[in-house]
Symmetry: C2
Subunit: 286 residues, 2 copies
Amino acid sequence: MNVFVIGVGLIGGSMAKDIKKENPEAIVYGIDINDNHLDEALSIGVIDKKAVYKDLSIADIVIVSVPVDIMVSELPKVLDVVNDEAVVLDAGSTKALICNTVANHPKRRNFLACHPIAGTEFSGPAAAINDLYKGKTNIICEVEKTAFKLQEKALAIFQQLGMRIRYMNPEAHDKHIAYVSHLSHISSFMLGKTVIEKEKNERDIFDMAGSGFESTVRLAKSSPAMWTPIFKQNKDNVIETLEEYIHNLEAFKTMIIEDDYDGIYKEMNSTNRIKEILNGIPLNKK
Amino acid sequence: MNVFVIGVGLIGGSMAKDIKKENPEAIVYGIDINDNHLDEALSIGVIDKKAVYKDLSIADIVIVSVPVDIMVSELPKVLDVVNDEAVVLDAGSTKALICNTVANHPKRRNFLACHPIAGTEFSGPAAAINDLYKGKTNIICEVEKTAFKLQEKALAIFQQLGMRIRYMNPEAHDKHIAYVSHLSHISSFMLGKTVIEKEKNERDIFDMAGSGFESTVRLAKSSPAMWTPIFKQNKDNVIETLEEYIHNLEAFKTMIIEDDYDGIYKEMNSTNRIKEILNGIPLNKK
């Protein structure tokens, strides 16, 4: 089995590691615009061989794990080269534009639109780890547009990786993911910015930070190259979530200004329901 | 050594556990308005005996770990009862009002104003754990107002628990902690609220949440009874942080609306500095 990973970082690299573990005969080829990443991935065994686009003709599986702006420019070129038996997966955090981009491609049936809900705040080949996808959700969009045999091939791999599958249309995906993922990143980045700005004049402030701050601001370590095009492609949904979030913050501020501490208590108490909700989320237990 | 814990939950209970471990001869007495908590703490060994206020006359160390509104009403009563050799510590997340409340108490020199920057999102006696304070910062305010011998007694305990000590005045504490702790809690609660509100009509939304969302919303599990009086006592500072946070979110939203993706990239890139900052924070590595 020839597995190609385009964009050898946390997402593609982790998937390659698990596939190799489950299928020792598989040969993992890496393609990356960054030659240093490719050398690093080779030296630490995330890939077996370096490759280029024309080699894609021998691919059985292609995992395209690049920022979503590069995805829309590269995915058609990947489909141009692969053979009829190859399945091409993406792992983008947006789905509508990506699906639209390849909607009329002659090899559309070779493509399976995926969003594995997994990751860490780290990036690059060295961030790739085994079992990243175990127990995690993989959202598949427009499954009916992928050739049945190729769906099967991909699903067998996802089963090996221990993923739960959910089917969704691209528009619903983009709308929902804005709430549970994209907004979290913005809230975390802006929290980090607010505190860093304050710190300019108050050098000791971070000495006072604890694990609560660390948890809330963790996503502000994420890659700007990955996240800028996500916000661009999901602009309307992201703006909607931001408006609702800001509205809720303003309302909370007003309650504090007006000394409405009963209201504040009730607000937090009803949001405590997040405990039960989180208990239902399949997460990597560390 | 007679150690009294008033408010036998995560904070006081964890401190008692470590003190007992380091000083097996110590007897830990628990006082709590909630008799169920007291029975639970006794049955799981967080305390050795149940006690009431008049027993405080035999105390060597008193740890007052109750919500900050109860703190300001109870602390003077505790000081009324203790003997001259007892040191009374608090663990409140605000410091100015607490210090003001006891400023003129005849036993002011028996009190040491503390804020150990440690915790989890859980509460109650069962949440008490060993080593919660190891490597964590303990902020001490107005140290000069505490009797020298009692400072020494308390510092010896903090050293046993592995804490780093920082001295600060109450006003500076309350201003800085609003940024690195109180704001994080509000941002997390409002993120939880925003997504829960959306979920009312979209049942499947949480199936799409991953570890990033979980991390960012973790603090929304926190106790409203503990946090409402903190926001009340630190009202002005909290409002200031909220205004800066909302301003930054609005600016980010405007950049998205205006398609200023260079600006968004730069904003996230400069906030990535949080990585180095977090590396310098003493956290429980889990």
